[in-house]
């Protein structure tokens, strides 16, 4: 355990305290207790910049399951630090904002902040883990906490729908990604990303290399809402606005970007990686911006805009990966794409974060986010208006805002790709700058729609639920800070250049750098009259034209039939899945316990019996067995009689007592064979379960002899005979085959030496096999909750009737 581990785990630790803080300090908004944590973490991560700047990395391992190669390895390099700063920095601002956004009277604040902290810790875990399995665990935890946050207002139908959708899609991708991780393990025999990167030259030709690449990209694309998986993001907007600002623009959706960046050293350089990442990215960029314009919900516009911007960053990462493929070309030519990707990542977090908060303010102060009802708010909310101008103009790529810089670099990387003569780019390369340019025009238009439809035009107070006025100052602090960063990053972009961006680049494309080399990073607000600048001028001109003629051409959206959208496809797939599984389930879940037992036993016979027969597992040898004593014969006789009695008993009581006698006799066997632990356990279990049976009596129907005599049932007879035979054979064969030394010698020798216990059974339970025990008691707990729920809910239903 090191400070870095503690930093990652601290949100979880605070999360445990939240309910207590919430209950005991009702008068204070719970958010105030949470706020110091991200600030402290942010300062801590800032202090690490000096070491990553020099190309140093920090790697600390805490062993978790060392025998499987799974260790909690915290790892910080430039890329991880950039994300950690984003997570904690934006996190602090979002929590500050949420204190004013969420009412402490109306909302369940404790659950909200527990989910949020859960998310923050999970996200830090994703970006700071070197071990793939740990990374995967945190990755799914982000999906889970995002699900909880989207469904925060769970009484709303739409929240539940959105939460489910995001969960289905992101976890689907996450599972595929796990498959990719396991393939990587099969190729390299390690779960550590560092060590995998070292083995890259040898694994590139492996037949699992491309499948692993594709599976991992599934994880990245679903998380980062790339086409066609973006459909969950607009629905996720049902979450409270601080959540949208945090998860769905600044952090979680960027986990996919992180993954692609993190695995660039492994996969980049192959044509598959280049084409999939950059083509899906650029198309998502276009598709998202194109669809954003037809949205009427402010948050809907922002959601599609996020999709588009994520696509843009993704495409830049793809294009930049070409730098690794070729050694001969001038590297700085293509590394500009990676530089732009990282720079835009930061810029997007600042302007999109502030825009989300602004939309939250508008929603909060007017009661609606519908663009058709809003208008003319400029005079009423001047500060909000100013911030949104800054955010939206930056998003549109206009100076003097940071979005302009990264968009110019985006254009440069797209233009340069045309000159590349690998991967069939000679013929298809031209598509990239064209799509990028057209997409940017749409980006410009929706950015204008966002600001001007809300703040200018006709003021329609009759359509608003509340009388609008400027937001309280506390709610404005966070967006003001973000908006000032938007401007600061424009005038002083080199603040970030060598401190944060260059180290991140070094960890994305390390192969390009020699020892001790650094990338040359120079971002300047003015770069002369270049092709990029003319492209921007074109974007502005066509964008303004497009904005004013919006009404004339917006009809084209009607040409896309509603039936054919991906959303419909998702719904239909879910519906048919639901329906067919319902039919399938109804086919075999008959409600009769006899049928269930029949299935279980048939499978038992077929699978166990055949596999044992095929593998030649049956064998008999009585060699080395002790002779059977008189007590054992008597006890066996008692068990036999007890069993037969329970079968043919006329009343239930007799049957249970007979069954109990079987159990008690078995415990006598344990006594005979000197296993007092087992005997004690068996005795207590038997006692408690007989008591339980007696209690159950009240609920069972009268014990009746079946009126008509049951026909002799051949299948049942065969199955019961089969089960009995196989169990007996199994027991005999297990005893007859001594392939290796029994494991008990190990326990006899080591239980006192290693665990300091003389009772072997107990030592095995708590020490050698503690993990099993932990899961066993968990299962027990779940089972008891199940029984509790089943019986209590049934009772309540009866009461309601």
């Amino acid at each position: 355990m090191t400070l870095l581990h503690v930093a990652i785990l601290s949100p979880f630790i605070i999360a445990i305290l939240v309910p207590f803080l919430h209950n005991y300090f009702q008068k204070i908004h719970t958010g105030w207790f949470i706020l110091p944590l991200p600030i402290l973490l942010f300062v801590y991560f800032l202090s690490l910049i000096s070491s990553t700047m020099n190309g140093e990395t920090i790697r600390n391992t805490a062993s978790w399951i060392p025998s499987l190669g799974i260790n909690f390895t915290a790892y910080i390099d430039g890329l991880g630090l950039l994300f950690a700063l984003l997570i904690t920095g934006i996190g602090a601002l979002v929590i500050l904002y949420s204190i004013y956004y969420l009412s402490k009277v109306k909302e369940q604040l404790n659950t909200f902040y527990v989910y949020l902290l859960l998310f923050m810790g999970a996200m830090l875990g994703v970006v700071l883990s070197d071990n793939l399995i740990v990374l995967y665990t945190f990755w799914e935890l982000t999906s889970l906490s995002s699900f909880l946050l989207i469904g925060y207002w769970y009484e709303r139908e739409k929240s539940r729908y959105g939460a489910q959708k995001s969960m289905m899609i992101t976890i689907f991708g996450g599972l595929l990604m796990l498959g990719g991780f396991i393939m990587l393990y099969m190729m390299t025999n390690t779960f550590s990303i560092r060590e995998i990167i070292e083995q890259v030259p040898t694994i590139a030709q492996h037949h699992l290399f491309i499948p692993a690449l594709i599976l991992i990209l599934f994880g990245a694309f679903t998380k980062s809402a790339q086409f066609p998986f973006y459909i969950w993001l607009p629905d996720a907007m049902e979450a409270p606005t601080p959540v949208s600002a945090y998860l769905h623009s600044a952090t979680m959706v960027k986990a996919g970007i992180y993954l692609v960046a993190r695995f660039s050293p492994v996969f980049a350089g192959t044509p598959e990686w280049f084409w999939i990442v950059s083509a899906f990215g650029i198309f998502t960029m276009f598709w998202g911006s194109f669809n954003a314009i037809k949205q009427t919900d402010l948050k809907g516009i922002l959601a599609f805009s996020t999709v588009s911007q994520l696509g843009m960053i993704m495409s830049m990462l793809g294009v930049g990966s070409a730098a690794i493929a070729l050694d001969s070309i001038d590297d700085s030519y293509y590394t500009v794409a990676i530089l732009a990707a990282m720079f835009h990542l930061m810029n997007h977090a600042t302007f999109k974060g502030s825009l989300f908060m602004i939309v939250g303010i508008i929603d909060h102060e007017t009661g609606t986010r519908d663009i058709r009802k809003l208008g003319g708010l400029m005079g009423l909310m001047p500060i909000t208006f100013t911030i949104s101008i800054i955010g939206a103009f930056s998003m549109a790529g206009l100076p003097p805002f940071n979005g302009f810089l990264s968009k110019e670099m985006f254009f440069s990387s797209m233009i340069r790709i045309v000159e590349l003569n690998i991967f069939n780019l000679e013929s298809l390369g031209l598509l990239f700058p064209i799509v990028a340019w057209v997409g940017s025009i749409f980006t410009f238009i929706y950015s204008m729609v966002l600001v001007f439809k809300t703040f200018t035009g006709k003021y329609q107070p009759e359509k608003l639920e509340k009388k609008p006025h400027e937001a309280p100052i506390g709610m404005l602090i966070s967006p003001i800070i973000l908006a000032s960063l938007v401007i600061v990053f424009f005038f002083f972009p080199n603040l970030l250049a060598y401190t944060i961006i260059e180290p991140a680049m070094a960890s994305i494309i390390p192969a390009v750098l020699g020892d001790g080399e650094h990338f040359h990073v120079h971002i300047s607000p003015w770069h002369g009259f270049t092709l990029e600048l003319y492209m921007t001028i074109g974007v502005v001109a066509l964008g303004i034209l497009g904005y004013f003629t919006l009404r004339k051409w917006s009809g084209i959206y009607r040409f896309i039939p509603e039936r054919l959208t991906i959303n419909k496809g998702y719904d239909a797939a879910l519906y048919s899945l639901d329906k067919s599984s319902f039919h399938l389930t109804r086919f075999y879940m008959t409600g009769s316990i006899r049928n269930y037992l029949l299935y279980i036993f048939t499978f038992f016979i077929v699978i166990l019996g055949t596999s044992l027969a095929v593998k030649g597992g049956f064998s008999f040898s009585l060699e080395g067995n002790a002779s059977v004593g008189i007590y054992e014969v008597i006890l066996a006789g008692v068990i036999l009689i007890g069993t037969i009695t329970s079968l043919f008993a006329k009343s239930r009581l007799t049957s249970i007592i007979a069954l109990g006698s079987v159990g008690y006799t078995v415990s006598l066997f344990f006594v005979l064979f000197r296993a007092p632990d087992l005997a004690l356990t068996q005795l207590s279990v038997e006692t408690v379960s007989v008591a339980l049976f007696l209690l159950c009596f009240y609920h069972l129907p009268e014990f009746k002899k079946p009126e008509k005599k049951l026909n002799f049932n051949w299948p049942n007879f065969i199955i019961s005979l089969g089960v009995g035979t196989i169990v007996s054979l199994l027991a005999l064969s297990a005893n007859s085959q001594r392939v290796s030394e029994t494991i008990s010698t190990y326990f006899i020798e080591n239980s006192y030496k290693l665990a300091g216990g003389k009772n072997m059974v107990n030592v095995i339970l708590v020490d050698f096999r503690g993990f099993d025990t932990l899961f066993e008691i968990t299962v027990l707990g779940i089972a008891s909750l199940g029984i509790f729920g089943m019986i209590r809910l049934q009772v309540r239903k009866e009461e309601e009737r």
Partner: protein, 145 residues
């Protein structure tokens, strides 16, 4: 549902129970603590304790037992699980893998040299879960007579 009143003459049972329950519980604690060296441990200890409570339930009725043992058994299960999990996590702070246990010998007043093992903490979790689970099941089934 017909309900026969079986509690007409259970004075002997009740009086005996009052004494016996304490003996069983003490014995179960003995089993629990000595589990590392002689037969016993969290599982058996827990089962025996719940056996004692079941005896109480049989001798008296649910309401009476609940009145002087006002325990939420579901919370007990949760506490047990948490304890077991946290003892596992605790080993992280000593740079050891999950669920690593340790032990040492300590001189305690009255008891003399005693071995203290962290495994007992884990076992305490098991003990609580076992009681919690058995009693939750028995109570829910018993309550809905």
């Amino acid at each position: 549902m017909k309900k026969t009143n079986i509690k007409t003459n259970d004075l002997i049972l009740q009086t005996a129970t009052k004494v016996v329950v304490f003996i069983i519980i003490l014995f179960s604690w003995h089993l629990f603590f000595s589990g590392h060296y002689t037969p016993g441990g969290g599982f058996i200890g827990g089962l025996l304790t719940s056996g004692a409570i079941v005896l109480l339930l049989l001798a008296f009725d649910l309401k009476t037992v609940l009145a002087f043992l006002p325990i939420d058994y579901i919370k007990m299960t949760a506490t047990g699980l948490l304890i077991a999990l946290l003892t596992g996590v605790g080993s992280f702070f000593f740079d050891a893998p999950f669920l690593t246990h340790t032990f040492s010998y300590v001189d305690l007043p009255i008891l003399g040299t005693t071995s203290l093992a962290t495994a007992v903490l884990f076992d305490l979790g098991v003990y609580l879960v076992v009681i919690g689970v058995t009693m939750t099941i028995i109570q829910t089934i018993g309550e809905t007579e």
